[in-house]
């Protein structure tokens, strides 16, 4: 898979309450959830972002609640993927299960700022920063996970099989 877009940068320990506050969890409608994506981390995020953009996080991205509403909100907001130094365990699992691509890359996070363009080749495991000759390596997504994401998540993948 190939992703390219402008990056939005957040700090360490971005919790799922910041990604999608519980006050909006009286619905599981993906479109409703997407309206409030990242609201308590940056109230204007949804006004500023464009489809295809990429979220950059620090350590422990997605910590806290197990709400799958968090990766659903990010995916439905049409963020193409998330790159962070590390991910909280449940968020990591939920993202793959939901079909939201995520990548761990410490070096990129330390060497990127808001508004820069990056492109990711998830098969080769390379992230390149637009306008610069800099590249960073990531663990490629294994083929079965690629298929799972392409199918739209774990259960759609199971159903297809």
């Amino acid at each position: 898979m190939h992703f390219s877009g402008k990056v939005w940068k957040f700090g360490d320990n971005i919790d799922t309450d910041a990604i999608i506050p519980a006050r909006y969890l009286n619905t599981s409608d993906p479109k409703e959830l997407a309206l409030h994506c990242m609201e308590d981390a940056d109230p204007d995020f949804m006004k500023k972002m464009k489809p295809g953009d990429i979220i950059i996080g620090g350590e422990n991205f997605g910590c806290g609640s197990s709400r799958e509403h968090a990766p659903i909100a990010i995916k439905t907001a049409r963020i193409s993927c998330v790159v962070a130094k590390s991910f909280a365990r449940i968020f990591y699992r939920n993202s793959f299960n939901m079909g939201l691509p995520i990548f761990e890359c410490r070096e990129l996070v330390d060497n990127i700022s808001v508004g820069q363009e990056i492109s990711i080749d998830s098969v080769k495991g390379i992230i390149s920063v637009g306008g610069a000759n800099k590249t960073f390596s990531i663990n490629p997504i294994p083929p079965f996970m690629e298929q799972l994401i392409a199918d739209g998540g774990l259960l759609k993948h199971i159903a297809k099989k």
Binding site: N13, D40, R67, L155, I158, A159
Partner: protein
């Protein structure tokens, strides 16, 4: 090489003869749990995958505890979705209305989760059941859907961190203070992907209520699970509750740990986690200038009868300070009734407390105790992230029931010693 209790329980739920950290396994699930927030997505996914039947109607638990009593029309619709599913699939452990309690207090109380079980729940505080010597971990709705369909789920076997806790705790210091102190030491990702195993002479004497509080907050250090080896205290707790076989597991003497951390509990004063991370922990004496607007005593962390007894001891013949909203949430109907029979509710009402029905509502800023901009609460809950209990500009300080009760009386964060 020996195995930890976590490795042993995981292995017992597979056909494997040996197990080691890092291994990917497919394991049988004893109980799969969902609530009114997470189950609707799981049900949608279950149906989208062509699900016609749950793997076992006795092994799925659905608890409508988050935005109940229904806070608005949308919440009522979500509950309706889960209720209809529960009826359709004849789910045995379905709880709502006057039978509902906060799930992680309710399931152990009813003997639905037992020592040696493998429990998954679409709620991050599912790790609470580790207090019973079960392997219990939070997952998302899709994982819940997969478990409801197949009765199995894949796991990566975690490494374990061993905590050895010794020393006699001072008066008013509890399991809540121990776990806050631990999270303060290792950070909110200090146990990321790992198991936290609590051992030592202090733990051996620790009552079940305190063990539940500690296991409950393992997720706040990023852990996959928190666990206690079951013992005579566990046995006493499950007596009369267990209606099916269970098994006690223990770590081998030569089990391998990624880290061993020793803590002298005798040195601790009551602990407080400042906004906006559960790891931002200080002793209560360093919080005495923090004025509060609300004190919340309840939740899956600290809404048990033992917690309410401590609060009542402090609130007896006292009142909440002017303009402080004291909210007490007995975690289950049984706890509510016990509190009534023991005269605790009378003490709370005389202290001008609001007694809420069992619900998770206030803890996650859903309803029944929301904060306005600039307001501060001390809460016996488990998270103090930005906006957790209401407005993004409000603040939550996490503490024990003893500190929350004393703070309500003085209108600022305080130790009961100050009364």
């Amino acid at each position: 090489m020996g195995n930890t209790i976590t490795e042993k329980i995981l292995m017992a739920h597979t056909k494997l003869k040996e197990i080691h950290p890092g291994q990917l396994i497919n394991a049988r699930v004893d109980i799969a749990l969902g609530n009114d927030i997470t189950a609707p997505i799981a049900i949608r996914e279950f149906r989208a995958a062509g699900g016609k039947k749950v793997f076992n109607k006795n092994k799925v638990a659905l608890v409508l505890d988050h935005f109940t009593p229904n806070k608005d029309i949308n919440s009522a619709e979500q509950c309706k979705t889960v209720r209809e599913f529960a009826i359709e699939h004849k789910i045995v452990h379905f709880y709502e209305g006057g039978q509902v309690g906060v799930e992680h207090a309710l399931l152990p109380e009813k003997g639905i989760v037992l020592p040696g079980d493998l429990v998954i729940g679409a709620d991050s505080h599912t790790c609470t059941y580790g207090a019973l010597g079960a392997f219990a971990t939070g997952v998302g709705s899709t994982d819940l859907a997969a478990a409801m369909l197949t009765g199995e789920l894949w796991f990566k076997v975690p490494q374990s961190i061993k905590f050895i806790i010794y020393g006699k705790m001072k008066k008013w210091v509890s399991g809540k203070d121990l776990i806050l102190n631990i999270i303060g030491r290792i950070g909110v990702d200090g146990a990321l992907y790992q198991s936290m195993e609590f051992t030592g002479e202090t733990i051996n004497k620790l009552p079940m209520a305190d063990r539940f509080s500690m296991a409950n907050m393992a997720i706040e250090a990023g852990a996959k699970n928190g666990i206690f080896a079951p013992d005579t205290i566990t046995k006493e707790y499950i007596k009369g509750r267990a209606k099916r076989p269970y098994k006690f597991y223990a770590s081998d003497a030569d089990a391998v740990y990624s880290q061993v951390i020793e803590i002298d509990a005798a040195k601790l004063e009551p602990q407080v986690a400042f906004p906006h991370l559960p790891s931002n922990v200080k002793g209560v004496s360093k919080a005495s200038k923090v004025k509060i607007d609300q004190s919340l005593i309840g939740s899956c962390t600290n809404g048990r009868i033992e917690d309410l007894r401590i609060a009542a001891k402090i609130l007896k013949k006292r009142k909440a300070a002017p303009h402080v909203r004291l909210i007490i949430v007995p975690a289950t109907p049984l706890i509510y009734r016990q509190a009534m029979q023991e005269g605790l509710l009378e003490i709370f009402m005389k202290a001008d407390a609001v007694i809420s029905p069992p619900s998770c509502g206030a803890c996650l800023g859903g309803h029944l105790g929301i904060l306005a901009a600039g307001e501060r609460a001390v809460a016996t809950t488990n998270r103090n992230f930005v906006g957790r209990m209401g407005h993004p500009k409000s603040e939550v300080y996490l503490a024990s029931p003893a500190v929350a009760a004393a703070s309500a009386v003085l209108g600022r964060i305080a130790s009961p010693e100050e009364l």
